[in-house]
């Protein structure tokens, strides 16, 4: 089959769409928060993900408005336990754990977080609090494991993940693993940068939208 035979109008459209997507992907790379830019710091030599992974992106017929894609995830992710849909029982236990922690009774706080966990075992914020409490108790391995578990359940929540990587960095520092701590800290930083970028973009988009709304009550495209 010759090249010419293959170039049908459909193919042309698809290629155009692909190129558009690739270009778009390049533009929005930085604020893509669901995946930390520092992919796998342990093996930096490994080849990165093959660049044209376009086929997974369903080729859209028209390019989406550029502001939507990076912002949707941030908007959808809860920032705190209270916003995570936790029930009143878990929130009550969180308050108790907070009191225990303020009183320096970290073991009691851990027990209260574990009670909360039995009620909502898949809540990433509870796992994160367990990690934090384990760190107070100087159980750095347990702190790191719980933070990892929180990452697993966080499903790409950048707030959860950045805090977890900070906890992991602290846990590794406590163990004397400074290289590992550095890697974890840079992941946390990258996530924070991504959050900031996304928030700026969001603010800009909001400003643009409001100015657009202010300037004209013109018909929508």
């Amino acid at each position: 089959m010759s090249l010419a035979e293959r170039i049908t109008p459909a193919v042309v459209r698809r290629v155009a769409a692909l190129l558009a997507v690739l270009a778009l992907a390049a533009c929005v790379e930085q604020p893509s928060v669901s995946r930390p830019p520092v992919q796998e710091p342990v093996t930096p030599a490994a080849p990165a993900v093959p660049p044209p992974r376009a086929p997974e992106v369903q080729p859209p017929l028209q390019p989406p408005p550029p502001s939507v894609k990076p912002l949707a995830p941030l908007a959808g992710y809860p920032k705190s336990l209270a916003a995570s849909g936790a029930g009143p029982a878990v929130l009550a236990l969180a308050r108790q754990a907070q009191e225990s922690r303020s009183a320096g009774r970290y073991d009691a706080a851990l027990g209260q977080w574990e009670r909360a966990l039995r009620i909502e075992p898949r809540n990433a914020f509870i796992w994160q609090s367990i990690a934090e409490t384990q760190l107070f108790l100087k159980n750095s391995e347990q702190a790191e494991s719980a933070a990892q578990k929180s990452n697993s359940l966080g499903r790409g929540n950048p707030w959860v993940e950045s805090a977890n990587w900070r906890l992991i960095a602290a846990a590794r520092t406590a163990r004397g693993d400074s290289a590992g701590a550095q890697q974890a800290a840079s992941r946390a930083e990258a996530l924070v940068a991504a959050i900031n970028a996304a928030q700026q973009a969001q603010a800009a988009a909001a400003a643009a939208a409001s100015s657009a709304a202010a300037t004209a009550a013109s018909p929508s495209p």
């Binding site: 049908t8 080729p59 039995r118 898949r122 990452n151 697993s152 499903r155």
Partner: protein, 765 residues
């Protein structure tokens, strides 16, 4: 004779005077020594206080998955009494749409749960609201008092007791005790001369029958320090020691010691000491909730718990109880009309021993093993430690009920004799490693061989998920839709024997996708994949999942691995928890007898299996239930919810296994025979039946289907395992490790020949 008589008399008199003096000196010395002995003995009295073992408390909160009838059942199990109005802690009122409870206070490890009156509403699946009575305040969270499920008492003496303080017991109890046993207690000096005299005369008249006459102090001395031998020497010693003790110790202290020391019953090898435990043992409630008739019963049987065993001789005990009730009225302790009402009541003694090791022997066995390494044997038996465990009495009773209910049906289905099958089961939480329920024998109260922990049986196909996990962890070579040829495999074993496994159905199935080989539990593809991936890799993953010392032989792919149901629960809970290993724990906290926190046992967590491949394996294990060997379970599991599991059958169907999980519960069931004869039940026909209904009864939640990071879902043409799209019939969305999905399109796909990637590749080729 006469000549020497006078000096003899003189000498005799002198001798007499001398010996009296010496006697008095000796007596004083003896008394001083005895006094010292009493003091040191009494100071050294350390109550034998076995460790008390508690179940996990029921946590009630809006959203807690419990219905009103179950809540009522829970309260009944805790010994709460149903009534028309709340009359004090430990009572409840069941109304049409809510349950009102006066909860008992309890000092937990992390704080006191105060007594409270609450009204709880439930909808048809969960608690919908909790309201503090007398106010409109809603309650976020409430812990009921935990159920006392047993004690760890020393095997040599078998002494079991729950310590009480005089200040905490209802005043009617000591008052009745004094009235019945030692009316003059408040005023005598340790012995009651009149009592002794009366007893002496009586015992002379009726030599066979021994009458008391001894004071509470004397009884205490006898129980604490002396043997039960009946001799005047001992009697005198006892009386003197009682007098001496009263010089050092207050009446209240003596009374309190008596309340805790007295023997009040026997439960096999376990001796029930003290009123605190007796109240639990006979009535399943704390002392301060006893009615006058119940107090009368306990005081009555103190006279002789063998003769007055209320479970054996209810009529004799009722007579005795009513006599005590009359003594209460005579003493002005209760009014006559109260006595009449109380005397009408039945004994109220529970037929089954509440709590005690007999109730959940398999679980207590696990607790005993887990605390063994943590505390010294003598401390466990004597220090009154309070051990708080993970046991969920509801899950435990559901597991017991299932095994009891389902085994006869399984026997009938294979025309087996009744009671020829045995079974064991374990239920754990997915996160946190809590052991929630254990059954080690179909006779669930029998404290014998604990199959859940000690029976080591080949696990059969339960091993297969780990073979495929090892394959899926190698995304360059395998994915869920890898096409595996089902063909004969022959292997020379290290011992020279030829190993030629067969499929269970003795058929060959052509080419099958990897996940279907697991779902249908085909042996030959499993062995093929296992050999390709390597024994060591599979071995390492099983070990990482928590199995100790798995073998390193190809036969392990098909489960030639001996393990107990608890071992399997450990392995499968690591899969259920996305690859995080948490050693299963039965204990959470230990407190001292005074309620001070001693130690807490947090779960330990470590990621030992890669999350993505575990997700893929779990996906394949869902297919076991959707259309594989366990599809029967679809008929009992809640519609629309996904569970993952695996059947296990060993050679000639000697062992029938099922292990599986949802989002919050892991359950493992084994069915087989103790003599290891074939049972004719494969995993699906046997253990699965119990497992499926159990998961339904447990109200287990289905698996969270959202894929973790590092997983992409791709439309696949099921015929070829290649990418498909709307051009293919019945494409399915299949998870892959990122970058591991097939890049080629199936021929049916519209995009097939001209995917942009292909096209780009062609350009640069």
């Amino acid at each position: 004779m006469i000549r020497i008589q006078s000096p003899l008399l003189r000498w005799l008199l002198i001798g007499l005077a001398l010996s009296i003096s010496i006697g008095l000196v000796v007596l004083s010395f003896w008394l001083v020594r005895l006094d010292r002995e009493v003091r040191t003995l009494y100071a050294g009295v350390r109550w034998v206080l076995p460790a008390q073992v508690y179940a996990a408390p029921l946590e009630l909160y809006p959203g807690a998955r419990i219905k009103l009838p179950e809540l009522k059942r829970e309260l009944d199990r805790l010994g709460y009494r149903a009534s028309d109005e709340l009359t004090g802690p430990g009572t409840y009122v069941l109304a049409a749409d809510e349950i009102r409870i006066d909860t008992r206070g309890f000092a937990f490890w992390d704080g006191v749960q105060a007594e409270s009156r609450v009204a709880i509403r439930c909808d048809d699946s969960a608690v919908s609201a909790i309201r503090a009575m007398g106010s409109d305040q809603s309650v976020d969270l409430l812990r009921l008092d935990p159920m006392l499920i047993g004690s760890i008492y020393p095997s040599h003496s078998g002494e079991d007791r729950v310590l009480v303080k005089l200040a905490d017991v209802p005043p009617l109890l000591p008052a009745t005790l004094i009235r019945v046993e030692d009316r003059n207690f408040e005023h005598h000096f340790g012995v009651s001369p009149i009592g002794i005299l009366r007893a002496l005369i009586n015992n002379q008249l009726h030599s066979g029958k021994k009458q008391g006459g001894s004071t509470l102090t004397q009884q205490l001395i006898r129980n604490l320090f002396l043997t039960n031998e009946q001799s005047y020497g001992r009697k005198i010693r006892e009386a003197l020691m009682a007098i001496l003790l009263e010089r050092h110790v207050s009446k209240d202290e003596i009374l309190e010691a008596y309340l805790n020391e007295v023997w009040l019953g026997q439960d096999g090898s376990r001796a029930i000491h003290g009123f605190g435990l007796a109240s639990q043992f006979y009535f399943n409630k704390p002392l301060n909730e006893l009615r006058p008739a119940e107090i009368a019963l306990l005081v009555g049987i103190a006279k002789g718990p063998t003769v007055y065993n209320p479970r054996k001789y209810p009529e004799r005990v009722k007579e005795r109880r009513d006599l005590v009730l009359r003594l209460m009225t005579d003493g002005g302790l209760i009014r006559e009309d109260e006595r009449e009402a109380e005397a009408l009541s039945s004994l109220g003694v529970l037929n089954n021993v509440a709590g005690g090791v007999e109730r959940y022997p398999a679980f207590i066995d696990l607790v005993r093993r887990q605390v063994k390494g943590l505390y010294r044997e003598e401390d466990l038996g004597s220090e009154g430690l309070r051990i708080f465990t993970t046991l969920d009495p509801r899950a435990q009773e559901m597991l017991e009920a299932r095994i009891i209910a389902d085994l006869p049906g399984l026997e009938a289905s294979r025309k087996m004799k009744a009671d020829s099958l045995q079974a064991a089961g374990v239920v754990t939480s997915v996160e946190g490693g809590d052991v929630l329920a254990i059954v080690g024998d179909r006779n669930v109260r029998y404290p014998g061989f604990n199959r859940a922990l000690d029976s080591q049986r080949p696990i059969g196909s339960l091993a297969k998920p780990f073979v495929f996990l090892a394959a899926l962890a190698d995304p360059g070579r395998y994915n869920l839709y890898s096409q595996i040829l089902d063909e004969p495999v022959e292997l020379r074993q290290p011992n020279g024997q030829l190993w030629a496994p067969k499929n269970y159905d003795r058929q060959l199935h052509g080419t099958v996708p990897l996940f279907a080989a697991l779902a249908k539990s085909y042996n030959l593809p499993t062995v093929k994949v296992g050999l390709d991936i390597g024994v060591d890799r599979v071995h390492d993953l099983m070990q990482a999942a928590g199995l100790e010392n798995p073998p390193r032989l190809p036969s392990m792919f098909l489960g030639a691995i001996n393990a107990s149901p608890l071992d399997v629960a450990q392995m499968y809970s690591t899969l259920a928890a996305s690859g995080y290993l948490t050693p299963l724990l039965a204990i959470r906290e230990v407190m001292t007898k005074d309620g001070k926190p001693l130690s807490r046992y947090s779960f330990k967590l470590k990621q030992t299996l890669p999350e993505g491949p575990v997700y893929l394996t779990t996906w394949a294990m869902q297919k076991v239930i959707e259309f594989g060997t366990a599809r029967w379970a679809v008929s009992v599991l809640p519609a629309g919810q996904k569970f993952a599991g695996k059947t296990g059958t060993t050679d000639d169907a000697r062992d029938s296994w099922f292990a599986g999980y949802g989002a919050d519960r892991v359950a493992v069931i084994w069915v087989g025979r103790d003599d290891n004869k074939p049972v004719g039940l494969d995993g699906a026909a046997g253990a699965l039946r119990i497992w499926g209904r159990l998961m339904r009864d447990l109200d287990a939640r289905g698996i969270d289907l959202a894929p973790p990071a590092g997983i992409e879902e791709v439309s696949i043409d099921p015929q070829t395992g290649l990418r498909g799209d709307e051009g293919c019939a019945g494409v399915v969305l299949v998870p892959f490790l990122e970058g591991a999905a097939p890049s080629d399109y199936a021929s049916c796909a519209n995009a097939g020949q001209s995917s942009p990637l292909e096209w780009l590749k062609d350009i640069f080729r």
